[in-house]
């Protein structure tokens, strides 16, 4: 891959999250540039790589973007931290993601890239130094995150990253217009996932909500509604909750995936 213009490239997930409006001191990365790195490629010709990406880049087994909770703030590397990041604890099946990561590394190795085989620490970098760790620790609150696509990113410098190529993933939920309340189109591969993704959508509006998730087997739409409302009641009682209720609106539609319009009374 010589003779072509080389760029600093890496593979990663694009992410969406209810980002804080303000952060402590630090060189904060713009929301649109925040990502979760899967593998560094180093200086590479994109033109050469593009053909291979379109030909045989490993397709993920999951059609819905993985979801997780950012429960912990990290200062990396540990010995002499230069960046502030949040660790992503997967709610989606971690093994599936681990296998997919492995497949990507195998594919890169076949293309003669040298790869880092250490277990992936899923994290999203929020800022680079200088920063005061305590300030970040004091203002950090856990929050949810959803993966929206697989990308080949270019490092543009000045904490900016541009997507050169991508495989979009169906988001676990999308908000849609509702005049008085809040409304989401929830998607899932099964009924259990619809419930988790419903809870996650509400956590995008109020992150502490997710900590009230009930670990239980869900039996149908009414069960989803009633379980989410139980979570809501407990949340309201203990710390307060901005939602009044999840309504008995709509039906589960079976398309390629299961879909449900969730309306939350506020």
């Amino acid at each position: 891959m010589q003779g072509m213009e080389e760029k600093r490239l890496f593979l990663g997930f694009s992410v969406d999250a209810p980002w804080q409006e303000t952060y402590p001191k630090g060189r904060v990365i713009e929301e649109s540039s925040r990502h979760l790195t899967l593998a560094f490629l180093g200086n590479t010709s994109f033109e050469e790589l593009k053909k291979k990406l379109n030909e045989d880049f490993p397709k993920p087994e999951f059609s819905i973007g993985p979801v997780g909770m950012c429960n912990e703030i990290l200062f990396l590397p540990k010995m002499k931290p230069r960046v502030v990041a949040v660790q992503v604890d997967w709610i989606s099946d971690g093994n599936v993601l681990e296998n997919y990561h492995k497949k990507i590394l195998d594919w890169l190795e076949e293309l003669n890239f040298s790869v880092d085989r250490r277990p992936l620490l899923p994290h999203i970098t929020l800022a680079r130094g200088p920063f005061v760790e305590k300030e970040w620790e004091d203002t950090f609150e856990p929050f949810p995150a959803i993966i929206t696509g697989i990308h080949l990113f270019e490092s543009m410098g000045n904490l900016r990253y541009a997507s050169l190529w991508n495989i979009p993933l169906t988001p676990a939920f999308e908000e849609f217009e509702h005049t008085a309340d809040i409304a989401f189109q929830i998607k899932g591969e099964n009924i259990q996932q619809l419930y988790i993704h419903g809870a996650l959508a509400m956590s995008f509006k109020y992150p502490p909500f997710f900590s009230y998730l009930e670990q239980k087997e869900i039996k149908g739409l009414n069960d989803i509604v009633q379980t989410l409302n139980r979570m809501l009641a407990r949340c309201d009682q203990e710390i307060g909750c901005p939602f009044k209720a999840v309504s008995y609106h709509g039906k589960i539609e079976e398309k390629k995936l299961l879909e449900w319009e969730m309306i939350v009374d506020v």
């Binding site: 005049t179 009633q226 307060g240 209720a245 609106h249």
Partner: protein, 475 residues
């Protein structure tokens, strides 16, 4: 698209379609109809017309918007014997409502930094926003809950939170009969325990401003409302307690398949005369009495703030009226020339009794009852007088109605200093959450002036005064 036929000024009929037991009725002007997307809420108006026992019309007010089963801004009266009662026709926030008090001072007294001091003091005394309860208190005991159910707002008065004369300035004198604490779940009681006297979040608020314009001097005089005078407006409801009452009932009704054969499961309802129907009414009335106490307690704390900051005697902060706008009530109305007992569901709609109505105090019996229509925190709110129009079962609108979703409003104000913007409009806003304020910015609402004009044209209520906000607390 629903076909609307104008049958009177600002009054349109929706023809009966298959399954509808009565036609729909929409109160609106052409201006409102042309500007707002009515399709979804009008679909809901038609759905409500399917409910067993509905009488005459399924009605939409000019501030109508998409709600839970019923539209917000909807009115439906059900035959008290053969009809149904629906939690969706009341709403989650049972007896959400508004109260207006008058202060014997003008804007002058909140000039300089006095306004901010007052706002700060209210903010300290009245918890607002998500998770803000009265944490320093022991919370409500079982005995308190029993008293709230059985005594209504008199419970607050017995705690020293108000004056005897407040009572006859509250809809139904602050007490809905039929309330019974034994119909309330522990979960509801737990949620409400430290929430009495709290504003909550969303569109709830405490607002202080000035009476900017008087439209009907003779009514204003009878009510002792003067141009330039300060007012206090409180908007809140039954908080988590009422939400849980609604949820508990919906879960029961859904589990018993009461939603079968309805066009929308959110309309789930039970016959009024059935055990489940009666149980809901007992619980709803209890939540309504909780809400009256909530607004009374907030008023008490705000009166204290006026005393602390401006040395105004609490008794001089005179309650003009308190209205419910999410409730089901048994009333007698004339249907086809005969009196009929009906259960009127008003969801996002205000009772607007005219002169002579039995329940009203002597002053309002002469004039008609005050109808309170909060607009948005920037432009205006309105004080109207009810005309007792029988076509809407003596009901009027309850606010401006949202024109923009929360998400759209939030996005359009992202990155801008909304507090500074509001201050430049002459309104100081204090809130726990900037996001709530962004969702509640004035342009998220229809112009309330246009909404009350429709109500006046349709002869539901007349404009008495226009109120201009100056100091606002949001959740």
């Amino acid at each position: 698209m629903s076909k609307l036929k104008e049958i009177a000024p600002a009054t349109y009929e929706i023809e009966k379609e298959e399954g509808m037991l009565v036609p729909g009725l929409v109160i609106a002007t052409e201006e409102i109809l042309s500007e707002i997307d009515f399709e979804k809420p009008l679909e809901q108006v038609k759905n409500v017309a399917h409910l067993p026992g509905i009488v005459r019309y399924s009605i939409a007010m000019p501030d109508i918007h998409w709600g839970y089963g019923f539209p917000i801004g909807g009115v439906a009266a059900m035959d008290a014997k053969s009809g149904v009662i629906s939690p969706g026709g009341v709403g989650y926030d049972i007896n959400c409502g508004v109260r207006l008090a008058l202060i014997p001072e003008t804007l002058k007294c909140i000039e300089g930094n006095q306004g901010e001091k007052l706002l700060q003091r209210i903010f300290e005394l009245v918890p607002s926003g998500v998770g803000k309860g009265h944490k320093k208190t022991r919370g409500l005991s079982d005995r308190d809950y029993k008293d709230i159910a059985e005594k209504g707002v008199r419970f607050a008065l017995e705690q020293g939170h108000g004056f005897e004369e407040d009572l006859e300035h509250i809809e139904s004198n602050g007490f809905i009969e039929g309330a019974d604490i034994s119909y309330i779940s522990d979960k509801a009681k737990d949620r409400g325990k430290i929430q009495l006297g709290t504003v909550g979040s969303g569109n709830h608020f405490v607002e202080i401003g000035e009476i900017e314009e008087i439209y009907l001097p003779e009514i204003a005089e009878a009510w002792d409302v003067q141009k330039g005078q300060l007012y206090l407006l409180i908007h809140s409801g039954s908080r988590g307690f009422g939400h849980q009452v609604c949820q508990d009932t919906l879960d029961t009704f859904m589990d018993k398949n009461y939603a079968e054969s309805l066009p929308d499961p959110q309309l789930v309802c039970a016959p009024i005369e059935s055990e489940d129907g009666k149980n809901y009414f007992h619980a709803m009335a209890t939540a309504a009495n909780f809400a009256f106490n909530n607004r009374q307690t907030i008023l008490h704390e705000v009166r204290q703030a006026f005393k602390d900051v401006l040395n105004i005697d609490p008794q001089d902060v005179r309650l003009l009226y308190d209205v419910c706008h999410n409730i089901a009530k048994f009333e007698t109305h004339e249907i086809d020339g005969k009196p009929m007992r009906v259960c009127v569901h008003r969801k996002g709609a205000t009772r607007a009794f005219g002169p002579g109505a039995e329940e009203l105090n002597p002053i309002f019996k002469k004039t008609g009852q005050p109808v309170l229509v909060p607009g948005d925190m920037g432009r205006a709110s309105h004080l109207l007088v009810g005309k007792g129009n029988s076509i809407t079962f003596c009901s009027s609108c309850h606010g401006a109605g949202r024109a923009r979703s929360r998400v759209k409003s939030s996005r359009s104000w992202k990155g801008r200093d909304i507090f500074d913007y509001m201050e430049k409009q002459g309104v100081i806003v204090k809130a726990t959450s900037g996001r709530t304020v962004a969702e509640e910015m004035p342009d998220a609402y229809k112009n309330v002036d246009v909404v009350v004009d429709a109500v006046e044209k349709a002869k539901l209520a007349d404009k008495v005064a226009r109120l201009k906000p100056r100091l606002v607390i949001k959740g």
